[in-house]
Amino acid sequence: MFPTFYAEDGSVVTDSAAAVPADGCKASDFDQYGDLEAFGVHPDWMRQLSKFASVQDRLREWQPRVMERLIKFSCIAIKALDFDAIRIDKATQVTVDGMAVWASGVRKCARELGKNNFFINGEVTGGNTLGALYL
């Protein structure tokens, strides 16, 4: 089952299942939807399902068991290395809800460590309308 995808005009993508046949549910933590050209050809939401430029596997971060680990690992890193901010490269390759869940979990972790000004910014190369969904 897919998460909610958004188009560059900020609207919800309603035909994602038709454009990307899910072929049932899959057990892997990784996206297994193949590969796409990375720059400017395909919509951002579709690129959230594929590798970036034939490298960098995507994770199915909309699955709770995957997201639990992403948050846990981030929290471990904050505790081990004591950093105060995280910059997310290619932030719009993460789904909108996935980013919100992850960032909220990281802030919770940071706050519990006494970091009440933890800063999370992300690279948004697309238009502001899409970026505004993440902010």
């Binding site: 057990a27 939807y33 997201m67 997310i88 979990g105 706050r111 910014n121 948004v124 969904l133």
Partner: protein
């Protein structure tokens, strides 16, 4: 247009991370960073008085806060490119206007700028002219001046968090007398090794002039004291430390890449040749760029 679908699929139980699943697992914070769709935009007057309790202007319920801000704001940078005379396809769809005043007014109503911890209005987009993976303006005609003008707009006109990399920062300070804006200035006062004179020569022995620098005590920053000579059409350059001092190779590389790399119109550091026992390092221009 369809993605390639893996033929070998593994069927198992379906899981879906419904937002509600997470709402019970993440403790509430201030209601902010919650996204905004086009039909959730307030008008300007409303935006001025917006609080986190105005749910209808946000995509997500608290406490699902997303990003605090955009790192290296590409939308504004695209405007910088246009404003400072670059040509080409510099626009993407559904973006902010090129005019900086209209751009800010648009960001103001379209973005959620409320701080996730304090609940205060706190715009922190990082506007900048310099970033690791963009071209270095110093390499263009009047590039330093263009870069400085863009930095001026990104730092003093647009509300946000200025993003300034080292060399443009120094140039900005020198031209605007804004000493103290750059964090490097603080480092200058702490510099334990100063007045390092570098001699720049090509492999054919031609002198390209001298440069001076300071290095912070912990080598966290390198402070350049004045703008260096142009490298021109040189295809390689050797920087020699006039008065030898003890540096590791990595420290020397940091120093030299900062000194030479920024003057060359490459977006990647020049190739490095040298060893830790030498007081000089040689770079070759990256011919692919």
């Amino acid at each position: 247009m369809k993605l390639l679908v893996e033929t070998r699929s593994v069927h198992s139980t379906c899981e879906s991370a419904k937002v509600k699943f997470w709402e019970s697992r993440i403790s509430p914070t201030f209601f902010s960073g919650r996204g905004r769709t086009p039909d959730q935009r307030p008008d300007f007057t409303t935006a001025v008085n917006l609080t986190a309790n105005d749910d209808k202007y946000f995509l997500r319920k608290a406490p699902l806060n997303g990003l605090d801000s955009v790192a290296f704001h590409y939308s504004v940078y695209r405007s910088f490119q246009r404003f400072l005379g670059l040509d080409g396809n510099l626009q993407v769809g559904y973006d902010i206007p090129v005019n900086f005043v209209d751009a800010w007014n648009t960001l103001f109503v379209q973005n959620d700028f409320i701080n996730a911890f304090t609940g205060e209005f706190d715009p922190r987009h990082l506007y900048g002219m310099s970033n690791f993976d963009i071209l270095r303006w110093d390499g263009l005609v009047n590039g330093t001046q263009r870069s400085t003008l863009g930095t001026f707009i990104g730092s003093l006109l647009l509300p946000g968090a200025p993003l300034v990399s080292f060399p443009p920062c120094l140039a900005f300070e020198l031209r605007t007398d804004m000493m103290g804006l750059c964090s490097f200035t603080t480092a200058k006062s702490k510099a334990s090794i100063c007045s390092i004179t570098l001699l720049l020569t090509t492999s054919s022995g031609m002198s390209l002039g001298t440069d001076r620098t300071c290095i912070n005590a912990d080598f966290s920053t390198v402070v350049r004291l004045w703008l260096p000579p142009k490298l021109g059409s040189a295809t390689d350059v050797t920087t020699s430390v006039q008065k030898p001092f003890s540096l590791s190779l990595s420290q020397k590389s940091l120093l030299d890449v900062t000194m030479t790399g920024t003057r060359w119109t490459t977006s990647t550091p020049p190739l490095i040749f040298g060893d830790s026992s030498s007081t000089s390092l040689t770079y070759a221009r990256n011919t692919e760029l």
